[in-house]
Symmetry: C2
Amino acid sequence: MRDTMELLRLAKEAVSQRAAGTDQKNRALMQMAACLESRIPQILEANARDMEMAKDHISKVMLDRLMLNEKRIRDMAEGIRQVAALPDPVGEVLQEVERPDAGRSNSGGKDGLLIQRITVPMGVIAIIYESRPNVTSDAAALAIKAGSACVLRSGKDAWNSANAIVLAMKAGLEMAGLDPELLQLVEDTSRQSAVALMKARGLVDLLIPRGGASLIRTCVEQANVPCIETGTGICHVYVDRAADLSMAADIVYNAKTSRPSVCNAEEVLLVHEAVAEEFLPIIKRRLVDDRLLEGLAPVELRLDEKAQALIPGTPAQEKDFDTEFLDYILAVKVVSSADEAIRHIGAHSTHHSDAIVTADAAAAEEFTARVDSAAVYVNASTRFTDGGEFGLGCEMGISTQKLHARGPMGLRELVSYKYVVKGSGQIR
Amino acid sequence: MRDTMELLRLAKEAVSQRAAGTDQKNRALMQMAACLESRIPQILEANARDMEMAKDHISKVMLDRLMLNEKRIRDMAEGIRQVAALPDPVGEVLQEVERPDAGRSNSGGKDGLLIQRITVPMGVIAIIYESRPNVTSDAAALAIKAGSACVLRSGKDAWNSANAIVLAMKAGLEMAGLDPELLQLVEDTSRQSAVALMKARGLVDLLIPRGGASLIRTCVEQANVPCIETGTGICHVYVDRAADLSMAADIVYNAKTSRPSVCNAEEVLLVHEAVAEEFLPIIKRRLVDDRLLEGLAPVELRLDEKAQALIPGTPAQEKDFDTEFLDYILAVKVVSSADEAIRHIGAHSTHHSDAIVTADAAAAEEFTARVDSAAVYVNASTRFTDGGEFGLGCEMGISTQKLHARGPMGLRELVSYKYVVKGSGQIR
């Protein structure tokens, strides 16, 4: 098994060479996609080994995420081609200043000092993720397009699949004349290798942990490399006193039930007391009774005291308002004002996506101004928080922090910038 | 003494209210400046106490930095007024997408989903700094203009001065109808309060340590709040084989001697072996002999083996190439290629400011592409890395990291953004 630090050094060395231009990167991406498709049998064979080893200890949902078939591999290749089609985020001149009054040495020329702020690659981007094989190809494609090396630390259950995918993509890089060392799969899948990435100062320029709350917490506590927190979403929908209750019910239904396992799904419903008596029975009917009639999983409602007085459900415990259920469970609280809702969100949200449903423009304005989350919605479902929906193309994850990137991270969020200053002998 | 966490909670609560508009912030800044000027006697009295306590244990240079007089206070007030005159960085729509095809509930309206990416305040910005009283007013002014609360942790030696300045600025905030709790000076000047700021997750949205390498290192190791590394500069000037040697000598002289105590001063000179025999004697004459004749402090040259063969000087030790001298000392190394220079900089630079002197466009291009520093110079002095010089107005520090902000941080680097999404019942 190769040492994680050694892989990082290889990646750093590869990315320290002169960066590839747009055309070469795009050719490499097209070759990576072609190699994925030409190696479908090998990738499926590796995936079958992963499935066999995992089948007794992971859930059906997780097994389905892990499973590859020909269509899924072709979709991954298509994803890489889509990244090739996106504009190159590197080399953009963000700002240009000429300072004609800059001091100049006697031997200097006639021109001013030209100061340009230009986007540049991050360097080595490391990603810690779990068992979805398509993250392997998505992350690699985005990193390569962004001019960076990519060090992937896949979950143990998907390692053989990830390895087969990485080998195919490395072949693609090589065919386009790029250094295959730009792409590395960490061989050690123990906890140590994740911590090694978090501590690899000088070798990891950006670490993106994609996973549950405990991985993110470990990163925050242990990492001394630059790190972007992603993905945990305790998302709220606040139904204001001035809400169109039919619209509100549709939004709550969609945000909670359309895909409860994802980070932009609703976990907490806040209802203004002026409409709670009318609205909560509607919600109970939509999320529980109607779904039972339709043979769908009903949503378990965990109710604060005021809500319990209005509809039947499970009494909520304090921790229910701080839990990312990722399941058919919804915590419900009745509030006496928009201010109380905003304060509750400030104290309990993971700052991912939070929504207000209201016809009152002032309440909407207050909510969007004061709720400090990556995406703040008025009269729409939180489920829209997504790179594709927001028009960024592919995404590397959804940042819940305020530094550098917020919300869905596309190519633009995977580059840095530098100042390039050109003179003719200027001194200060 | 008030508890640091309590001050942070007051700041967080103050900034969680509806943010002030541009006019109100600018009025507050003008009042802050006026209050500084109207309290000159009180501030001078507090500063005299600091000077008295510090005079026996800090250097003359540090005492001069600490010292206030009427002119310096008026300059601080003028600095605040300059911040008032800068454009408001908050509320700028960076991007706008309308998605007419977004799904819609039956009760929804006719329009598409409007997705805006808008700049927003960070929240609570904390700054750990040393003994320069003007940092107190500069940092507070920038934070207030950026819509944030500001928690200042001044060095012990300047605490009375900082407190008098903060009291004046709080009075100014209040006169403009802003909450004076937006501005806090940490009362505990022990190491604990610095660590408390580094660990105050949820209360500090951005921590900026301004100080020496050891403070930055502590932050990197201990902080679990978002943090921007600033200021340490091991800056290189590389004199290429194709350099105009007269221009090169002027640039080296300026970068090393114009203000050796600042972070953008040169610490290491790299010379191509093809010109070393001609160039190093010029440098020795300019930095040592001529300065002695002029009665100025000569620069101590710490020479690698090849340089020692060409000019007299101190033999360099390995650590001399990894030291921010901030003094009249220059480490000198002869390299055999531009590639060796670029690699040396990659291994030893703090990624602040590095320069090449060359008439060869290809070498310049290679250098600017591969040197991974906040500011990369061609034929100009590293001393230009500065918010004012780069046209950003005031600066909060110079970032040496690649995430979020790089190089001089002005107002634009002190805000975050959020997505505000407005719909009429859209669901996904």
